[in-house]
Subunit: 419 residues, 2 copies
């Protein structure tokens, strides 16, 4: 079965409007308000295929241009409530408690570090790139004692290592980066959670899914993940500015039983938990003004992901297929992947070493000249030796856009010429 | 001189497009892309006159629907740099250091509490409503010892009281809410800063300008304010989701000389200061992904405020005039203001007691039925006894919209009938 691209649902209105304009004098009588979603089309721009922000649909951008609304109005409250419910669906959780807060993905770390671990308690950070170091620093600022298990560049931490670390010391929580945006390395979330449950069931499993939610297979409840934290601008297909986190009932219990005060004000679940519960129950509440327009945009994208075709499961498959196309082309062109094994490679992005004699200074402008924006390296150890291509969201799931073909063609032109 | 409304600059293009549509068959030949700012018009909606979020212009909303962009791209970096520079202009500062971070206004408190005061140091909070209590709580979470000087409901803290408090104890900082959104009380920022400078020059003056920046007269450098913190969704006329703060060189020095570690990760100036300096210098840098679309929206609004007519000074006048119209009408209708004296009343909002026998349950729906959204009470002591009308930004400065007339007419209909 070929899944139907999600935007198709909106196309009939677009088409009829186009027909009106081009074939019928009726347009002379119609006021040109441009105030309908079907008529809005974003300005022409280069194809953005970095590992986030990603391409955003016209429908989502139009929602981001929603007229200004009161954050406590009866029109907005149910929209926020829906977003809370659909956030649960998108991480495949029945009972998780979502937190939607104005901020970038990084704010999710502060939420974990200030609400779920007390000063002096131990945290185990699995390190597969840049973001392991940053999460470590964040945990330490809030008083946690952090041990790191560091994978080699492009590798993952072996299960045996995790197991012995968990046996040697009592950890309040373990964190890992599901997809490390700096390396494109995908950690095996299911196996990690399984190991923790088996060896140290009281340890919370914290998944940093900033670069994985809605693009990589992720089953929060089934796999036993306690926290999924992410942001709006990657697989979720919304502009940046929203910190999204889902906490398991077990994580909420750890939060509720903490004896040390929460060490942040803005990231405090003491403040946010009643707000999230109120909005979900259809009642307004106030702690800090939510990013109203971005919530409308998020609602539009979540509706496409959770209610329309392709389904979430189909989206996982479409990301796999898109990833395979990019990675097969890269292999044909002799471009080595940064992840050391195919099973460590993310589906939503590719990190590719330059062939010898080429660098970001050659490649990025060449691709830019073809209207394609990719990202340079980020991991300090190999920063200048590789580049990154994002293939999340629309680019991966809406075949009609032809983005994957556009990217593979451009890669062939840029790297094929040098072979 | 009658200032020209800022949107006028955009109108000629709007008009010519309308003429094309309605009078000329040329529209039959034009593709209907809707991808130009001049053509975009937000959907019809009720007039939002709460004390924030406020009405947002079509141009700003269109910018919020900007195609997705890389946060480190050469196209975006100068836009962010411009926003930093124009933020300085809007608070009338030459040397202040702006911080633009994804978050709501509340995050500004965490920035102050985690970067500018060390555990055990004293803070003096001037309390003129709901927001004094919240800022106090935030400061205490980060270890500050807080004393409050509490005004009666609708009043301000007397200068003499501030003076004796400053003489009695050494305070690292003093905070006040320039306009307390819960009461509509305007504090005399100039007099407060003058008092601090005179009595305790080493104390930092922190102004919470969430409900005042760009609507109330505010001269950061001339008055000697050390921190102005605000948010995007009030006088600045942008959707919510951006925490905006400007720190004086003196405040930055206090931050740089602190000996205790910064007690937040996401709000840490150790992280953000190099990022802001890099973007202003035209170089990309990364700590956490900025809210790219909102930065485009903010850029559009700041450009209107700082580069177009009416000027910032004219805007202060226009807010005064709009406020007078609303408050005069309220007085005619026998509606008492919550601020105890006219000189304590904000220009960007009005807090008005219901006449006896009326309540939010009567008034808000009546105004809603006329297409007008106002806000209920927020200050716990008098919550059910008053309502709030916002008159900031477009509503106050763009006379062609007729918003103030719409509001005064509706107030007359709703309250006049009961006289």
């Amino acid at each position: 079965m070929t899944p139907r691209p999600p935007t198709l649902l909106f196309r009939p209105r677009l088409l009829s409007s186009a027909i009106n304009t081009q074939r019928s004098p009726a347009c002379l009588l119609l006021p040109r308000t441009m105030s309908s979603a079907a008529e809005f089309k974003q300005a022409p721009h280069k194809l953005l295929v970095i590992p986030g922000p990603i391409e955003v649909s016209d429908e989502v951008l139009y929602a981001n241009a929603h007229p200004s609304m009161s954050h406590v109005s009866p029109d907005f409250v149910p929209v926020f409530g829906d977003c809370i419910r659909m956030t649960r669906e998108v991480v495949l959780s029945k009972e998780g408690q979502p937190f939607l807060i104005a901020g970038s993905g990084t704010l999710g770390w502060d939420q974990v570090a200030s609400n779920l671990i007390q000063p002096g308690e131990n945290a185990l950070v699995l390190h597969t790139g840049y973001f392991g170091d940053s999460f470590t620093e964040c945990l330490e600022i809030y008083g946690a004692k952090v041990d790191q298990l560091k994978a080699e560049v492009g590798g993952v931490v072996a299960t045996e290592e995790i197991e012995s670390a968990l046996k040697a010391k009592k950890y309040r929580l373990l964190t890992f980066t599901h997809v490390d945006t700096s390396t494109g390395v995908l950690s095996d979330a299911k196996a990690i959670a399984e190991t923790v449950r088996r060896v140290s069931p009281e340890t919370l499993v914290i998944l940093d899914g900033v670069c994985s939610v809605a693009s990589e297979e992720l089953r929060m409840d089934a796999w036993g993940i306690d926290v999924v934290l992410t942001a709006s601008q990657k697989g979720l297909g919304v502009p940046p500015g929203l910190s999204i986190l889902v906490a398991s009932p077990k994580a909420i219990k750890v939060f509720e039983e903490r004896t040390a005060p929460v060490a942040s004000y803005y990231a405090s679940w003491k403040k946010w938990l009643p707000i999230m519960k109120a909005y979900e129950a259809g009642k307004p509440a106030y702690f800090a003004t939510p990013p109203v327009n971005l919530i409308y945009a998020y609602h539009t994208s979540l509706s496409a992901i959770t209610k329309n075709a392709p389904s979430l499961e189909e989206r996982f498959e479409l990301h796999r297929a898109a990833s395979k196309q990019i990675k097969d082309t890269a292999a044909e062109l002799g471009l080595k992947q940064l992840p050391l094994k195919p099973e460590y490679a993310a589906m939503g992005m590719s990190a590719l070493y330059f062939p010898s004699g080429m660098s970001a200074a050659d490649v990025l402008p060449s691709l830019g000249a073809k209207g394609i924006v990719v990202a340079g390296g980020l991991h300090a150890a190999v920063k200048d030796k590789y580049f990154r291509v994002g293939h999340m969201g629309l680019t991966a799931v809406d075949g009609q856009r032809g983005d994957i073909q556009t990217v593979t063609n451009a890669l062939k032109e840029v790297f094929g010429a040098k072979k």
